[in-house]
């Protein structure tokens, strides 16, 4: 019964993390970059949103501003990687560190800013979970449709090919570096959008929010794709799966809390989920049956 009561909240929060996981899907799966910027840009989105809401800016405009701020953060990582030649994983860590300072200054030096949900009209808030779920589903659906259309355009196709086969892309006149920057901007824009929704839902943003976000997003991606790839391996089904993965993750999360797991161990739990999803397929292919790697086959976790 307690669990059922917690369910709507878990679904609403899961949708927000599922949206964030869509952003990570673009960097991790499409660009083949493990982008650690997201731990910072998620918080940036929340900070921008919370501060603008306090200034009386309408909620939808705050969310758009958050998206742009996240896109900017992604561009910084992309430029560090492509122009300065810094390995992508380190470029992401560097931007993440920069964002900590940026986020603090956005919050005016405070470590936590609250949003007065009674005084400010918000897109979603935990005080009304059914409405939050409706808003969450709407925003997620709009994002998936826009991305689906985008990845069928000329630019979208080259973004995909730049991640899938950089050699082929360059040979076909595709500017791989430009596409990496563009993809990281889109990915972090979506992550910051999720951060803005997260801040509204929770009614606050803390400078600590977003820490370990990439692990939650990867867990959502792996849970989601383990099901959706079996149904139909196409883009839209994958994205829906990823969002579903976020929701499932939060239902599990709430369930283990109810079972009495101390919240201190939750980050460990997230990490273990990711380790299992990455590790088990590897062990299966490396140790159980020694079959030759399929040439050119992309790793699928």
């Amino acid at each position: 019964m307690v669990f059922l009561n917690a369910l709507p909240g878990a679904v609403a929060e899961g949708l927000i993390w599922g949206l964030m996981a869509i952003g990570v899907y673009i960097s991790y799966k499409i660009l083949d970059i493990a982008d650690l910027t997201v731990d910072g840009s998620l918080c940036t989105g929340g900070c921008v949103c919370a501060v603008l809401l306090a200034l009386g800016v309408p909620a939808w405009a705050c969310v758009l501003a958050a998206l742009l701020a996240g896109a900017l953060a992604g561009m910084v990582t992309g430029l560090l990687h492509t122009v300065l030649g810094i390995p992508s994983i380190l470029a992401g860590i560097l931007t993440q560190l920069m964002l900590y300072s940026v986020n603090l200054s956005i919050l005016g030096g405070k470590s936590l800013v609250a949003i007065d949900y009674r005084a400010t009209p918000l897109l979603l808030h935990m005080s009304n979970n059914p409405m939050a779920i409706v808003a969450g589903v709407g925003i997620v659906a709009a994002t998936i449709i826009l991305l689906w259309l985008f990845f069928y355009t000329e630019i979208g196709l080259t973004l995909k090919s730049a991640g899938d086969n950089p050699d082929m892309s360059r040979a076909q006149g595709v500017d791989v570096n430009f596409n990496k920057v563009l993809g990281l901007a889109i990915a972090n824009g979506i992550v910051a959008l999720a951060g803005a929704l997260y801040a509204q839902y929770k009614g606050s943003i803390s400078i600590q929010d977003g820490r370990g976000a990439i692990v939650i997003a990867l867990a959502a991606i792996f849970i989601g794709l383990s099901v959706s790839l079996k149904i139909k391996p196409n883009f839209v089904v994958s994205l829906i799966g990823v969002v579903g993965g976020g929701v499932v993750y939060y239902i599990i999360y709430n369930f283990v809390i109810l079972l009495g797991l101390k919240t201190d161990y939750l980050k460990m739990l997230s990490a273990i989920i990711v380790v299992l999803f990455l590790g088990i397929p590897y062990i299966q292919s490396e140790y159980l049956h020694k079959e030759k790697k399929v040439p050119g086959g992309k790793r699928r976790a």
Partner: protein, 264 residues
């Protein structure tokens, strides 16, 4: 069409692994030339093609394509002039994308990509027709991911991609070496057909001396980073493998050695 002047490239300069790959190479190709390139281990064949493609910049020398100096042009910009097929069949296509999407990306080589539909309907019809010409049964598999195709099929699709937007220069880097003999012959036959159909200026590296003699109107043999033998016209038509080996010995002062070259 192509003019290479005094091209030099050393890999790992100043280390014990320093390797002079191109050593003052000069080469001019006339419009419509189909040149086969042959040479021993480390003669600089692939290095030459990579230099033309812009994979890295040469240490010295210039490369002109159709009168444009491309020496310092980045690889993706230079691609507007070039069609490329690699030795590795996995390298030329995007495995996680559909055949039609791969072709559409290639069809827009040299144009600015815009926020418009990436594969138009009329295009799909054209691709279906072009794929039917390959006679590999790919015409009904436009939506198939390229990663599911065989090496030979992928190489044929890559060849189509390289020539969809007619290149000023077609670069074939041992593009049949990784295929089984039957498929290799098929892809080679396809190459001949496409090259002659569009009168493409072509540089084709091969490790098969017979292929080098049978195809194209001109043959060059490379040795230690420069052109050692350059034969064209009637002289090339009468050429035999034995002639080629003795020409090489005369030009380079040593026996031709390459563990991969097929002599007969």
């Amino acid at each position: 069409m192509l003019k290479i002047t005094d091209l030099h490239k050393t890999f790992n300069p100043g280390t014990v692994n320093a390797k002079v790959a191109l050593d003052g190479l000069n080469l001019s190709l006339a419009d419509g030339d189909f040149v086969t390139v042959i040479g021993g281990n480390g003669a600089g064949k692939s290095t030459l093609l990579n230099a033309i493609s812009g994979v890295w910049k040469p240490d010295y020398g210039t490369i002109e394509i159709d009168g444009v100096d491309v020496t310092n042009m980045p690889e993706h910009k230079r691609a507007a002039y070039l069609g490329r097929v690699f030795q590795d069949p996995m390298k030329g296509t995007s495995p996680d994308m559909e055949i039609a999407e791969n072709l559409a990306i290639a069809a827009r080589r040299g144009t600015k990509r815009r926020l418009v539909w990436g594969v138009r309907k009329a295009e799909r019809e054209e691709y279906r027709r072009l794929l039917a010409d390959l006679e590999l049964g790919l015409e009904d598999r436009l939506s198939t991911k390229v990663g599911l195709l065989s090496g030979g099929q992928r190489q044929a699709v890559t060849l189509l991609m390289a020539t969809l937007q007619r290149p000023k220069l077609l670069l074939l880097d041992e593009h049949t070496a990784a295929l089984d003999p039957k498929t290799a012959a098929k892809v080679l036959e396809l190459t001949d057909r496409i090259v002659s159909e569009h009168h493409l200026t072509t540089l084709m590296i091969t490790h098969n001396m017979r292929d080098a003699i049978a195809h194209g109107n001109r043959l060059i043999m490379m040795d230690e980073g420069h052109v050692a033998v350059d034969i064209s016209g009637e002289e090339k038509q009468k050429l035999t493998v034995e002639d080629l080996l003795s020409l090489f010995a005369k030009a380079s002062g040593s026996e031709f050695t390459d563990d991969r070259t097929i002599l007969s």
